[in-house]
């Protein structure tokens, strides 16, 4: 990059960090269609292919559906494939996403989290990726550009593991991460090469060993293949932990595996977050701690597989848990809240849990908003579990609402 500061540290955006991570991972094929706010990822990658610094085939496709299809074709001949998208583009890939996970094709995709139309909006929330939670893709949510780059490298390693063979989606909050600039440490190519071995898969078309790929099944066998897919996703948890540890040893940065908890050890009130808002919440926790409030924070890194045991271990015995959702599953509540509550349901004594819907369509979530969330949690505990309180709350609504 032009803005190089030292040999390894550069000042780049989240999108550029992903592109550099992809180059280090040496994919054979990139097939992608540009969409705001992902565009810079695929622009940089096409430039790298053009200038020869990335020896890959860049396939210009006419749509996201074709991008996913081409990535599957590449994966089917044993190639390492990457794609990237956002929002409406992700939904246009939906059919292929189930196909890729069912076919056990470890494609890696970057998704720039952006709201879904209508109303049309290019700004961020998590409604795009959360609506694809059941597509059989591993989903990680990163907090900053460094984590975006590091997870791009880890993603291929985890997805391609023989016990996993499951596609992997790296989520970056649109604009907040994709378009803001940070100092990012770039790992050595030689270290990445030894960390990330050449992709090998049992599911490969070849002339030497012809295969019938993607066959159909009768009801006699279909369920077994679906169970197998589920089992591989559950088994991915161990691989996620070991890969994160090995990454830490090799590159000096690790992220805690499935979750990252902050000040949870003695916490009374814990907020559960995903993605970039975690950085804001860390500051809110520090502020509250300085005022004597025992605030803690759980950053959900992975939403699939879901860190149920990790959530129970980190926050099972607190007084109250808040779950921040940049999402509503219309007619119920935030999807992350539903998932966290189902993890807590296994406890005999459960903390109070409240859902905070925030940041839809790119609405800002400030430190003050998050401090307010902790005050709400405190109040709910003071009011008492038996008294009724609003289970789902809307942060920073611009108008009054009934009920």
């Amino acid at each position: 990059m032009k803005t190089q500061m030292s040999k390894q540290k550069v000042f780049i955006s989240g999108d550029e960090a992903v592109a550099l991570g992809v180059r280090l991972a040496r994919p054979h094929v990139i097939s992608a269609y540009p969409i705001t706010p992902q565009t810079i990822v695929v622009e940089r990658l096409s430039e790298m292919v053009e200038d020869g610094s990335l020896k890959a085939r860049y396939i210009h496709v006419e749509s996201e559906h074709s991008a996913m299809s081409a990535a599957m074709g590449a994966s089917a001949v044993g190639a390492r494939a990457f794609t990237a998208t956002s929002s409406q583009g992700l939904l246009y890939m939906a059919e292929g996403m189930h196909y890729a996970s069912g076919g056990r094709m470890p494609i890696v995709m970057m998704n720039a989290n952006r709201s879904l139309a209508l109303p049309w909006s290019i700004f961020g929330d998590h409604r795009d990726s959360l609506s694809m939670l059941d597509s059989g893709w591993i989903q990680v949510y990163v907090e900053d550009a460094q984590e975006a780059l590091d997870m791009t490298i880890q993603a291929f390693r985890i997805a391609e593991d023989a016990a996993v063979l499951t596609p992997f989606m790296i989520n970056l909050d649109g604009f907040i991460l994709t378009h803001t600039y940070e100092i990012v440490d770039i790992p050595d190519q030689s270290k990445v090469d030894s960390f990330l071995p050449v992709f090998k898969t049992p599911n490969k078309m070849s002339l030497e060993k012809p295969k019938s790929m993607g066959f159909s099944t009768s009801p006699a066998d279909n369920m077994e293949f679906k169970y197998q897919q589920h089992k591989a996703m559950l088994d991915a948890k161990d691989i996620i932990h070991s890969v994160d540890k090995e990454f830490g040893k090799t590159f000096g940065r690790s992220y805690g595996g499935m979750i990252d908890s902050y000040n949870c050890e003695d916490a009374d009130y814990v907020l559960v977050t995903a993605g970039s808002v975690t950085g804001t919440a860390r500051i809110a926790v520090d502020n509250l701690r300085s005022r004597g409030i025992k605030a803690g924070l759980v950053k959900l890194r992975y939403l699939r597989p879901f860190p149920d045991e990790e959530v129970r271990a980190a926050a099972g015995d607190v007084k109250a848990i808040g779950v921040l959702d940049k999402d509503i599953s219309f007619g119920y509540e935030g999807t992350i809240f539903t998932n966290v509550n189902s993890a807590l349901a296994h406890l005999s004594i459960r903390p109070v849990s409240i859902n905070f819907i925030a940041g839809l369509g790119g609405r800002d979530i400030s430190i003050k908003d998050i401090e307010g969330i902790y005050h709400d949690l405190e109040e709910a505990v003071t009011v008492g579990k038996d008294k009724s309180f609003a289970k789902v709350r809307y942060v920073n609504m611009g108008v009054e609402i009934d009920g």
Partner: protein, 102 residues
């Protein structure tokens, strides 16, 4: 003539007995597959010129070449679609109604 053989199907006992994802070696046939045929193609080998147009066009690969440079049908896999009879330039193939046999 290289024809696929019917292999013995071993019913999986453990989830490990399944392949990883729905992919397996090509040509692994475990049963004949022609049950829904109502008309079957029959070739008049005196009219057949061995042009192999039908051989190339059969969607199921159920036609093979014989030593005397004619063709024969594999009725274990022919679905009776009639493409061969339709495409034969010499009208050497006719579609004959299957008899109901038990």
């Amino acid at each position: 003539m290289l024809k696929p053989e019917i292999k013995n199907y071993v019913t999986p006992k453990h989830i490990r007995d399944y392949p990883t994802g729905p992919s397996f070696e090509a040509g692994h046939l475990v049963s004949i597959n022609a049950g829904w045929r109502t008309f079957k193609p029959v070739v008049d080998i005196n009219v057949c010129t061995g042009c192999y147009q039908c051989y190339l066009l059969c969607p199921d690969g159920a036609i093979s070449k014989t030593d005397n440079k004619k063709i024969e049908f594999d009725y274990s896999f022919c679905k009776g679609c009639g493409v061969c009879a339709h495409e034969c330039s010499f009208n050497a193939i006719s579609m004959v109604k299957e008899e109901l046999t038990k």
